[in-house]
């Protein structure tokens, strides 16, 4: 059946730092493998579509794509629940999808649209926390457009706290979320993701120190894609064993291109963190795109290297092979998704869903100009004062303009207006030194 247990061995063993690493034998189900395939293929398709939208100038500013790294997002979601928190840096589209965000939300946000109404069910109606909920992304849903853009997606209802643009800042923030979980005596954890570039940030070590002192349920996930922008890891980092760099904090090195290995490691880390405090997971992964849209991604690494990873380690192909070798892609398993088509058709279906989401997002208007001033402060809470203030000032100004122009025209007529002598202008900027 689709929920029968399968045991799959990871192709690369885990390596532990001051802890016994988890077993290579990962339990999964046909249902989960199919969900992995579908979710990762959707993420991949979304990112490729975002690339096109960027080149068509429909996305502005920053845009960092995740293709190649999808196994980290889906594997992590498979091990945790929506009560656990996730916080990451700017490469956040797929993590947002993993938390139950929808394609329309992503596209509307990156295109700066105020997307429309709610039709049909929310994407995360499914309650089975062990299967990633992206399985049904593409269902239309209510869209909350934020004011953040590509780097700043949020979904607080499933505890996704962004989307942060300042390199490394999300790690202390994540430890703060873990602090709050422990303070509230909840048995939940926080996953704070950062790249190999951010791994050298000072504040990361400050936060890790406090997380360890206070036994916070924080899991630091280093997504090592081997390049901090265009700087190869060995040019920026003296000790390349990122999972060991917590020193007194345990760590595990994980094949980040294997969704099952990621799942196993995250499950292990969650248990560890609830019992013993922080732990570092180094995910050995790879991004196919350049760092951002301004980076073709080929000046500091070879085409052969990228092709090699695609051929040998691609996270989607790995799952495809598993599904085929276990002969899961039968009609029976496909029924789980109530989808009556073949593998090829799943991908075709995804392409269709992505295109539909883009079309829907494009239909959505730009935000109303009135949105410019909303949410600077929490509304309806003393902030009225500031709004009244703005209004009062505007009225006064209008009144004054009226008055002044009246005055001005009168005096110009009578020849009374002239520019003040230069020393008078200087006199306006006075402080005590002026007299010394």
């Amino acid at each position: 059946s689709d929920t029968a247990t399968l045991t799959v061995e990871t192709s690369v063993p885990f390596t532990g730092h001051i802890c016994d690493p988890p077993s290579r034998a990962v339990e999964t189900t046909p249902r989960e493998l199919m969900a992995f395939f579908r979710d990762m293929a959707t993420m991949r398709r979304m990112e490729i579509a975002a690339d096109s939208l960027y080149k068509a100038k429909l996305i502005r500013g920053f845009c960092h794509l995740y293709d190649g790294q999808e196994a980290v997002a889906v594997g992590m979601e498979a091990a945790i629940t929506k009560k656990d928190c996730i916080i990451t840096a700017y490469r956040d589209h797929c993590l947002f999808l993993g938390r139950g965000g929808t394609l329309v939300e992503v596209f509307a946000e990156v295109m700066g649209r105020q997307a429309g109404c709610s039709k049909g069910k929310m994407a995360n109606d499914q309650n089975d926390a062990t299967v990633t909920e992206v399985a049904v992304i593409g269902a239309t849903s209510a869209v909350i457009v934020t004011s953040g853009g590509s780097m700043h997606l949020y979904k607080k209802d499933s505890r996704f706290y962004g989307g942060h643009g300042i390199v490394g800042a999300q790690v202390p923030l994540g430890c703060g979320l873990a602090f709050a979980q422990k303070y509230s005596k909840e048995e939940h954890v926080t996953f704070a993701l950062y790249g190999d570039g951010a791994a050298n940030q000072g504040q990361l070590f400050e936060a890790l120190n406090m997380a360890a002192l206070w036994d916070l349920p924080a899991i630091l996930v280093c997504e090592n894609n081997h390049y901090g922008m265009g700087t190869a890891e060995w040019r920026a980092t003296k000790c390349l064993a990122y999972y060991k760099r917590g020193d007194y904090v345990p760590g595990v090195k994980v094949d980040g291109m294997d969704a099952l290995a990621v799942k196993q490691a995250c499950k292990f880390a969650k248990e560890h963190a609830l019992k013993n405090g922080p732990i570092i997971l180094e995910m050995d992964t790879y991004r196919y795109h350049g760092h951002s849209m301004s980076d073709p991604g080929s000046t500091y690494r070879t085409r052969d290297e990228i092709t090699g990873v695609r051929q040998e380690r691609d996270p989607i192909e790995r799952i495809r092979k598993l599904v085929l070798s276990h002969e899961l892609a039968t009609e029976k398993e496909l029924k789980v998704f109530k989808l009556d088509f073949s593998f090829k058709d799943i991908e075709k279906e995804i392409r269709k869903k992505v295109d539909e989401a883009i079309a829907k997002a494009k239909e959505s208007p730009m935000p109303d100009p009135s949105e410019l001033f909303t949410n600077v402060y929490v509304e309806g809470y003393r902030v009225e004062l500031m709004e009244q203030e703005a209004e009062r000032k505007e009225n006064l100004r209008l009144e004054q303009i009226g008055k002044k122009s009246e005055l001005y025209s009168l005096e110009v007529d009578s020849g009374k207006i002239s520019n003040p002598p230069p020393q008078e202008i200087g006199r306006r900027v006075l402080n005590i030194n002026a007299d010394l």
């Binding site: 300042i166 923030l173 430890c175 709050a180 929490v378 500031m386 004054q400 900027v429």
Partner: protein, 355 residues
């Protein structure tokens, strides 16, 4: 009844922690040391180490942890302090040695601005950040340039933040309680030289429900010839200047700003429209300072009511010198305010003393 600013802050923290279990205090030396300036005295015993959390001297890290906890819905009060090797509770304020906020705010400024102030906006209201960053601000006595600086204008220029500057014990209690209850990030700028000062407090101020509105200035002294705006320690200076001016027949209106952001432009302009003259006083640097903003506001809104150029009294445009004579010259003195007010009233004034 009288109360020191220190006790006012301590009682405000105590009452808010008692009223809301989500409120907790974190920072350097807030717990076992009882606070580098004894503001958190007794709170560790009362609330335990979970809610009064000593941190290492790693400000960027714990500022971030505080903001993360606020994302989740807790209400952190993050105290910024450093060491203070001679501070005793009974010492006179003038020998207090280190102005902690100065050292530390800059280390934490990224989290205050980028992680706290902007999150509610970027997340379209999903993630509010109910956090208070508090600690001593501005120049203390003889602590050198790196520990003597006013941050009011820095934080006051940042949308998303609220910036409060208490002067008296009433301010300290009412504004700190308001800051803790506020759902937005608040930078709460205290002055270590005021901690030991006593002010009269009414029964209303002592009531645990007492709270001051954020964004409202207070007319500390009414007058009709010249308006003097000030905040924090400078309010005391402005009041003393007003007394001297009164003897010379000049009636000065002293406005205690209390809140730098939102700034009570209405109160300032109303006063200027009455007195037609303005002196702004602050301990910060002159360029792009709080006085500059007030001056701009008055020029925009009440230009034709002005009978004299606006006078700005601020710190000298130099890093804070250590030498006592230079230090005195670098920050505003009462006589500077008196002279500026007289200039504004077109009275003849002597040259400034050179310390």
């Amino acid at each position: 009844k009288e109360m020191t600013v220190r006790d006012a802050l301590n009682s405000a923290l105590d009452e808010e922690m008692s009223a809301d279990p989500k409120v907790f205090l974190m920072g350097e030396e807030v717990g076992e040391y009882q606070g580098a300036y004894k503001i958190s005295k007794g709170l560790l015993d009362k609330y335990g180490p979970e809610r009064v959390r000593d941190t290492p001297i790693t400000e960027a890290g714990f500022a971030g942890i505080g903001v993360g906890a606020a994302y989740y819905g807790l209400k952190p009060v993050v105290e910024f302090m450093t060491f203070n090797f001679s501070m005793q509770v009974d010492l006179t304020p003038l020998v207090a040695l280190v102005s902690g906020l100065n050292l530390i705010l800059l280390q934490a400024i990224d989290h205050i601005i980028n992680s706290a102030a902007k999150s509610n906006y970027m997340s379209a209201g999903q993630i509010s950040v109910p956090i208070v960053f508090r600690g001593p601000n501005g120049a203390a006595a003889g602590v050198g340039a790196q520990h003597s600086q006013c941050y009011a204008a820095w934080f006051g220029s940042c949308p998303g933040l609220k910036v409060l500057t208490p002067y008296s014990s009433e301010d300290a209690r009412g504004l700190l309680k308001a800051a803790i209850r506020d759902p937005d990030p608040v930078v709460f700028l205290e002055n270590e030289l005021l901690y030991g000062e006593s002010f009269p407090v009414s029964a209303e101020v002592l009531d645990s429900s007492f709270c001051l509105p954020i964004g409202k200035a207070k007319i500390e002294r009414e007058g009709k010839h010249v308006t003097i705006t000030a905040f924090s320690k400078m309010v005391g200076y402005a009041l003393k200047a007003a007394e001297i001016l009164a003897k010379e027949g000049i009636s000065a209106e002293v406005i205690n700003l209390r809140s730098i952001r939102p700034l009570d432009r209405a109160a300032i302009n109303a006063s200027v429209r009455k007195t037609n003259r303005l002196v702004t006083v602050e301990e910060g640097f002159p360029q792009h300072g709080v006085g500059a903003e007030i001056c701009a506001s008055v020029v925009e809104e009440s230009f034709e009511y002005l009978d004299a150029p606006v006078e700005r009294i601020s710190a000298a445009d130099v890093p804070m010198p250590y030498a006592a004579n230079l230090g005195r010259m670098a920050v505003p003195q009462i006589e500077d305010i008196v002279r500026a007010a007289k200039r504004a009233c077109y009275r003849s004034v002597p040259m400034a003393a050179t310390a």
